[in-house]
């Protein structure tokens, strides 16, 4: 039987043509439909539960809504509430006997023998952050941010701007940015006069603090799987940088017993710089994040931070262990105490944040989706521990230990090391 030409099997080429036409015919409305249904909003929410052994408990809910625009821009607003309760070490030393100290609000407080003096407090902090991201052409973008936060004794207002540019076939991204913060510190009970002990007040209720910061960075696609980046930032702080509720003990040089507590005093300027190197590497399935930061400032504080995360991709879920090592040196004017009778230094603080210390963070994040639900949930538990203090909550020795040179006694560090547990629940979905 002779086949009718019309009923011949089509050639491969004509089949391909037909397939292409079908794909195009199906694809065009599909793309149009994707535009119509592409998410226009993103909702992010998280709650932090923070517990610091013997000190502070914090609950911090955060909600963020982002409007996504078709051209790639976005407008976001973030609302944060901090509820803090507990007690913070004043910086004063424990004594062999009972101490009576005056709290910032003017009340007297009895501290038992061997106990580290603390300031009990309860505070709420509310913050609003707004950010607007806008592409400029096809290779550049701008991100503008504004911030406002308020708590009982502190207010912060800030703005920031960041510009980025992609070059070299989008292998290289250059970023520059700057920010300005105008904060006010209004201590409960007035502003103490630094390095005095009699409750003297400066008479100034609102103390200004300004922060000007700049940053520059470059990120580089090295391979299909590897992205690296370097960021540098510098900030200049000026104004009231003292912690109004922290004190420094004046001790008897022979017994190390505290005789009185002076309000701490810090310089009125601080210049801070940091370099951050980051890497993100995609293995066959999992992802490795690694970063290192070096920080230094003109208060003499230097620090090294190494941060490592490994994301195990487990199909629809992921598991991400996290390790962070941190080490800092003490600020030049940090001291555990001042010797009675010695001339007062220009500045002095016993704030543990300015002390030499090393800490380790270990944590685990689990990310998953609920069946039949579009959003993603993550649960993270972390622990931050300080591992360089040998003397845990022990009262000062009566005579102090002999120094290496057999001369001046070594002042034991009475403050308990950091021990912080956190639990963070986060939720994210687009709609």
């Amino acid at each position: 039987m002779q086949l009718d030409p019309a009923s011949r099997p089509p050639s491969v080429l004509s089949r391909l043509r037909a397939a292409a036409c079908v794909l195009l015919a199906v694809g065009v409305p599909a793309v149009a439909a994707a535009d119509e249904t592409s998410p226009r909003y993103q909702l992010d929410a998280s709650t932090l539960l923070y517990r610091e052994a013997g000190r502070v408990t914090v609950i911090e809910p955060v909600a963020r809504i982002t409007r996504l625009f078709e051209g790639g821009g976005s407008l976001g607003a973030e609302f944060t509430l901090d509820v803090m309760t507990g007690a913070s070490p004043t910086g004063g030393r424990p004594a062999g006997g009972i101490q009576t100290i005056t709290t910032p609000s003017g009340n007297t407080q009895t501290v038992s023998a061997g106990e580290v003096p603390t300031n009990p407090f309860r505070d709420e902090r509310g913050a609003v952050d707004v950010d607007w991201q806008q592409p400029i052409g096809t290779r550049a973008g701008a991100a503008t941010g504004a911030h406002f936060s308020l708590e009982t004794d502190y207010q912060s207002i800030g703005v920031s701007e960041k510009l980025s540019l992609e070059t070299m076939q989008r292998l290289l991204t250059l970023t520059v940015g700057g920010g300005y913060n105008r904060d006010d510190v209004f201590p409960v009970g007035g502003t103490p006069v630094g390095l005095t002990s009699n409750g003297e007040r400066t008479g100034v209720d609102r103390n200004a603090k300004e922060v000007l910061s700049v940053m520059a960075g470059v990120s580089r696609v090295l391979t299909r799987r590897w992205l690296v980046g370097i960021n540098a930032s510098r900030s200049k702080e000026s104004g009231y940088l003292t912690e109004p509720y922290k004190v420094v003990s004046v001790v008897d040089p022979a017994t190390q017993e505290p005789l009185t507590h002076l309000s701490e005093l810090r310089p009125s300027t601080r210049q801070r710089t940091d370099l951050l190197a980051s890497s993100v590497y995609h293995l066959s399935r999992d992802i490795l994040y690694l970063s290192y930061r070096y920080y230094w400032d003109d208060w003499g504080l230097r620090s090294h931070t190494v941060d490592l995360k490994y994301r195990f991709e487990l199909g629809a879920t992921f598991l991400q262990p996290h390790v962070r090592a941190y080490a800092q040196t003490a600020a030049d004017f940090y001291t555990l105490s001042l010797a009675n009778g010695a001339p007062l230094p220009a500045f002095a603080s016993s704030d543990q944040r300015l002390a030499h210390f090393n800490s380790l963070t270990g944590g685990l994040t689990y990310g998953f989706r609920l069946p039949g639900h579009a959003g993603e949930l993550t649960v993270r538990a972390e622990y931050i521990g300080q591992f360089d203090r040998l003397n845990l909550n022990a009262p000062a020795g009566e005579d102090g230990e002999e120094g290496e040179d057999g001369g001046a006694p070594v002042t034991p560090d009475p403050f308990s090391p950091l021990s912080i547990g956190t639990l963070t629940l986060s939720y994210s979905r687009s709609f």
């Binding site: 911090e60 703005v159 620090s303 800092q328």
Partner: protein, 72 residues
Amino acid sequence: MKRTAAFAVVLALASCGCAATAVQPWDRDLLAKQQMRFVPLRMEYAVDQHIYFSKEGSIGGHDVGGGGCGCN
């Protein structure tokens, strides 16, 4: 000043792209993933920055500026 100069050198080396090969648009499937960012989990990053800021003497990271607090 020495550190600034060192940073400039590192920046120049990073941008010269000596070790990199071109990654074509069709090879960017992995890089396009949300998790291939320096900060893939934004909310957790913000929480971390706040905690470390309130407990350590250092600052600095991927952001510029940011809100202050009278963290005790």
